[in-house]
């Protein structure tokens, strides 16, 4: 068998296994700890290098160390939204149950990252710009993203019937995705206090390696943490959604018997 079709077969099978809640739950039981450990190690290394090894910035002094939480959080806030919108679209088009679960479980995590980006940004802005907050394009659009996350979460939990909730939430999530490019390019389109692309700039990152390495580690650490938290939340939601099914009941009764 040629490698292309083998890969395709593998992807196809995994897709179908992940699409079934029960399979997902079983797989997640193994992947969750792996993601957790990876996230922990990456974050730990990143924090060590970022706090101890990276040199202080010649302009900003030690305050630049906020970058190691601000940029991963800000970047994740966008990435998670794209994930949500993609999952929502898949759910709407192919009616895949698990896609909705991924979308709705990601939303609180994305909102947390957005809030973190806003808060750490404000904290960083105070010494650098001399103000906590201004109404420029990047900050404002990031704030709107936070509202959008709230909207997605609130829409899902507002409905009693799950199918309706999923559809309504997904519609909103898909429509809202226009905000992501606006946030990303806001620094180019409008004049802004916020600095332009530094890490993902054209022609490579404009940053010395000993400052960049911890940042990359932290970004991956955040990403694995997102995966870890997503698996935990999705497992909970699958348990809840499938509470009528036999396998969940068996799971719970086994649980009761072993704990007592």
């Amino acid at each position: 068998m040629n490698p292309v079709s083998a890969t395709w077969n593998f992807l196809y099978k995994t897709y179908h296994r992940l699409a079934s809640p029960r399979e997902f739950y079983t797989i997640a039981q193994y992947t969750t700890p792996v993601f957790g450990v990876l996230a922990f190690v990456l974050l730990l290394c990143g924090a060590y290098l970022g706090l101890f090894k990276a040199p202080a910035d010649y302009q900003q002094g030690d305050s630049f160390r906020i970058i190691y939480v601000h940029v991963p959080a800000a970047w994740l806030s966008l990435m998670v939204y794209v994930t949500i919108a993609t999952a929502a679209a898949i759910g709407l088009i192919w009616r895949m149950k698990m896609a909705f679960v991924v979308a709705i479980c990601s939303a609180p995590l994305g909102a947390t990252f957005t809030a973190l980006a806003l808060i750490t940004g404000s904290i960083w802005g105070k010494p650098i710009w001399g103000t906590w907050w201004t109404w420029d394009a990047r900050l404002t659009s990031e704030l709107i993203l936070l509202f959008l996350y709230f909207g997605v979460i609130a829409t899902y939990y507002a409905f009693e019937e799950r199918k309706t909730a999923e559809k309504a939430m997904a519609m909103l999530a898909v429509v809202g995705v226009v905000i992501v490019p606006i946030i990303h390019y806001s620094v180019e389109w409008w004049s802004s206090l916020h600095q332009g692309a530094t890490v993902f700039a054209e022609g490579g990152p404009r940053m010395p390696a000993d400052m960049l390495t911890p940042l990359i580690l932290m970004i991956f650490g955040f990403m694995f943490f997102y995966g870890y938290a997503l698996f935990i939340a999705a497992q909970n939601m699958v348990l809840n959604n499938e509470r009528k099914s036999k396998w969940v009941r068996e799971l719970v009764t086994v649980n009761i018997n072993t704990t007592h």
Partner: protein
Amino acid sequence: MMNWGEFFNMGGYAFHVWTSWGLSLASMITIVILGRRKNAKIKAQLANQIRREAKINSDNQEQ
């Protein structure tokens, strides 16, 4: 070795750096703890429901 006092001072930006890092850490920990708790809660609820179904069944059989 380094000077810990100086390290915590962060060149005068202690407040800014430590609140940022602290908040990030705190929110990650909270997310994980809440996830775990939710799991326990869902299972407890389910167990309660199974108990209640047994009650309904025995009530139906009584008649």
